[in-house]
Amino acid sequence: MLKKRVAATLVVKDGIVVQSIGFRKYLPVGKPAIAIEFLNQWGIDEIILLDISASLKNAEPDYNMIKKASKKCYVPLTVGGGITKVDHIKELMHCGSDKISLNQAAIHQPGLVTEAALLFGDQCVVVSIDAVKMGNSYEVYDYLTKTTLKKKPAQLAKELQSRGAGEILINSVDRDGSYLGYDITLINEVCEAVTVPVICCGGAKNAADFIRVFSETTVSAASAANFFHFSEHSVNCTKANIIKQVPVRLETYADYSGNPFDGSQRLLKKGDKELEEMLFIRIEKEII
């Protein structure tokens, strides 16, 4: 059966992965290539790399950065930021990206969505929509002008699906970096409006948030950025908890299935007696 996907979003600013808080504050994390290598080793299902400085500077995608970053990426890599022409997508596909994400283009030049889908197939075109809560409803947010559009994210998603988008990435601006959990209402509105797979992002704190969004909405993938960066084996540990309730793919030898976790899904130390009796077993590296 098809598994729910646990994805990681890497927000890149001036060539550095950053922690993004509310689309306003950015704290440096490290080099994209290193983040991608580790996420791969920890068994992530998909990586979405969004370069937020490219559009800001009106620049093309940073092909060199993508080429370096993708070197050790053996899971699908979606790249967004600065794409305004089909030629940019062609070049990105030659630099190690597998799918592309359109955000500014989706708002201001929706024709590019169709053009890209006709050339690369709809499955290659991800449309990323930023949503902000206005009273009881949601509006599309333009991060460049820092203004909202008088349009509902679900409505925009539906329009862009008919123009050829193969996946919708819905990002909650309010929840970004907040650790408050996914915005279930927003995600449900978008999922109900489209038939293509939806990826949600913004607000994940731990595995419980993934379990909730997978159980209460029909998203195909849930993505997190910040919380994967700051603890060792964050992806495997998260999956160890999710898989108790929702089927996900396991990749790594360390699956943490027998480890205790606390209420916040943090890994607990094993009991002293258990540690005392523990044997060290040499794991032979699997030769492919």
Partner: protein, 207 residues
């Protein structure tokens, strides 16, 4: 073969660099991405990568005369070839993606739109299990519970005798086809971590 000359056929669209990264990580040094006849002719094994719409891919192949160059190598000289995703679909007789378009017709079959019950999203995106009809040679190193990464809206419909593996997504989706020296996989082995690398190893070891 221990160290075959591998050529990833570049026909304009396609995630050539991703495929090259994955195969390169297995230690294959004689690895090239090319659309040049002289380079392609030297290959021991060919890879036809894919991320693209069928019409654009088929058109690009013909424009670069790759259909005749590859046809001679694959059908006459029996060079092994592995098509990935739309690269696999190109092996078919035709495709109905955005109108009817002719493929290479190396494995008789039709590429059709996924028509699924409403609870199944299309495109079919994500990690899915694959069931094997025939393990040799592609899946010789993969375990029964292997997951591969799929990303497609159209699927290869053909006679069961060509189906090496399938996947369950509301219907039986052809996951791998094979006929003599011609192989194709619907999923992306270059993006399926260990499972995918094992598939590449199985393919190159068999030639």
């Amino acid at each position: 073969m221990i160290n075959p000359k591998i050529v990833i056929v570049d026909y304009g669209v396609g995630n050539t660099h991703s495929v090259s990264n994955a195969i390169g990580s297995l230690g294959y040094k004689k690895l090239k991405i090319s659309d040049q006849e002289a380079v392609i002719k030297e290959a021991d094994a060919l890879i036809l990568p894919g991320v693209g719409a069928f019409e654009a891919c088929a058109g690009n192949l013909r424009e670069r005369h790759l259909d005749t160059i590859l046809g001679e190598l694959v059908l006459v000289k029996k060079k092994p070839i592995l098509g990935i995703c739309v690269g696999m679909q190109l092996l078919a007789t035709d495709s109905e993606e955005n109108g009817l378009h002719a493929g290479l017709n190396w494995i008789e079959g039709h590429v059709k739109k996924l028509q699924l019950p409403p609870e199944y999203a299309v495109p079919h995106v994500g990690w899915n299990n694959v069931k094997f009809n025939s393990r040799e040679p592609l899946f010789s190193r993969n375990s029964d519970d292997s997951n591969f990464y799929f990303d497609h809206s159209y699927y290869f419909s053909c006679d069961d005798k060509y189906v090496a593996a399938f996947s369950d997504y509301g219907i039986k989706v052809t996951a791998a086809v094979q006929r003599d020296n011609i192989y194709g996989v619907q999923f992306h082995p270059e993006k399926s971590q260990t499972s995918g690398l094992k598939l590449f190893r199985g393919f190159f070891n068999s030639i």
